[in-house]
């Protein structure tokens, strides 16, 4: 009798058992999938997932090396056409009026005088060809030029020991980053894309470009920059995307 249940030489018995087992495992599978759908909307599960996301913020803060540079690429590798991304379709891109534009500064900053575009263009400019990685998974290489953000923050007397820098944008978008990333040498207040003044679809009049963070953390159409110790959150971050979202 030993192993008679196992032997495949008795197809009748084996088949019955197999069918029963498959039926059971299928219903277990279906149950767990159903439970999975319910689970996500369950508040306690949602709380655990949120807490894990905050834990991942901390881990990413530890992993972030303020001196580690993102890879730079040859200009021949720039993705053309460079994809548009935003929380609205490209046809709804906001056009910010240049004539009365002033960049507002707020929070823990000493000199809060608003900046006009020609004044910003007159600051020392640097360029980078880096990879933008979208939270969706795709990536594209682009060239951005502008002021090194750490230089700008120092120039306006921002409190560099504060924890966060927040951004309010002309397209009702908002976001915020950690101070360590704000001071990273490749974090740019960018005015140009591919050597041209940023067209509206890429964020005129300026975009914060950080190759060390996912695309949605790079705000466009910036109207106000402020420094704070309370996390200002963000448009996508408040909807459940990970706040740090570092690369």
């Amino acid at each position: 009798m030993k192993n008679s249940r196992l032997s495949l030489k008795h197809p009748g018995a084996a088949n019955l058992e197999r069918r029963l087992f498959l039926k059971q495992s299928l219903s277990i599978g279906a149950l767990s999938l159903l439970a999975g759908c319910e689970l996500t909307s369950d508040e306690r599960v949602q709380q655990v997932l949120e807490r894990m996301s905050r834990w991942n913020d901390r881990v990413q803060g530890w992993l972030f090396d303020p001196k580690k540079l993102a890879p730079e690429y040859a200009e021949s590798m720039i993705t053309r056409p460079f994809p548009f991304n935003g929380y609205y379709p490209e046809s709804d891109v906001r056009v910010i009026d240049e004539t009365d534009y002033k960049l507002q500064l707020g929070g823990m900053i000493k000199e809060r005088k608003p900046w006009r575009l020609p004044e910003l263009y007159a600051l020392p400019q640097v360029s980078q060809v880096t990879r933008l990685i979208c939270v969706e998974g795709w990536s594209a290489i682009g060239k951005w030029s502008g002021v090194r953000f750490s230089d700008f923050l120092q120039r306006v007397g921002a409190n560099l020991t504060a924890r966060y820098v927040g951004f309010n944008c002309g397209d009702d978008y908002y976001s915020s980053i950690d101070m360590a990333t704000a001071l990273h040498p490749q974090t740019l207040l960018a005015f140009r894309f591919a050597d041209q003044i940023l067209p509206p679809k890429y964020g005129f009049p300026m975009k914060l470009r950080m190759p060390t963070k996912l695309g949605f953390k790079n705000p466009k159409h910036i109207m106000e920059i402020f420094v704070a110790n309370d996390n200002p959150g963000g448009y996508w971050e408040d909807k459940g995307y990970n706040w740090f979202s570092g690369s």
């Binding site: 009798m1 030993k2 192993n3 249940r5 196992l6 032997s7 495949l8 084996a14 058992e17 197999r18 087992f21 498959l22 495992s25 767990s32 999938l33 999975g36 759908c37 996500t40 909307s41 655990v48 997932l49 949120e50 894990m52 996301s53 991942n56 992993l63 972030f64 090396d65 580690k68 540079l69 993102a70 890879p71 990879r131 990685i133 979208c134 939270v135 969706e136 998974g137 795709w138 990536s139 190759p211 060390t212 996508w236 909807k239 459940g240 995307y241 990970n242 570092g246 690369s247």
Partner: protein, 203 residues
Amino acid sequence: MPNWVRVHPLVVRITHWINALAVLIMVASGWRIYNASPLFESFTFPDGLTLGGWLAGALQWHFAAMWLLALNGLVYVVYGIVSGHFRRRLLPISPRAVLHDIGQALRGKLMHEDLSVYNAAQRAAYLVLILSLILLIVSGLAIWKPVQLQELAALMGGYEGARLLHFFAMGLMVFIVVVHVVMVALVPRTFPTMITGRLKRSA
């Protein structure tokens, strides 16, 4: 007097089921993440088989369960090496024996009488499964941190290379899991042993 044979050690049973849960969450949420920007335009996963409801939800599941997968995997691998479990159960393994046993299995002739001894096809399958999971974790780290871990990402051809590798390692892993589950269905008495750890000797 029933005579019990010890088939699976406790650590292996616990880590097996935690791993099963973690892999289920990682695959179901990973498929949702894939769908947000498919690597292959004409291929997406049915939403009904995914977890998270939308991209942000799927990412929350994926980046929570990754800790479960990695820590549990670490316990299993350290145990497997230190206790000699890997050496005893998964080795030795020769390509010829693996091919022979796979051929036998395809003809429905492969026997698995002593459940505490894995045949060559099983050894190969479990080793490849372990390797594919390690590959998934390593390529996943490169996708998560393509700047901080850029040296690691560079080994895979950078961010986009790591993405491709992550996808194909998932495919390999899911294939072995499907074969594994089918084999358990064909030899159902193996199933309870992964819970109780033992088998009643009928002789």
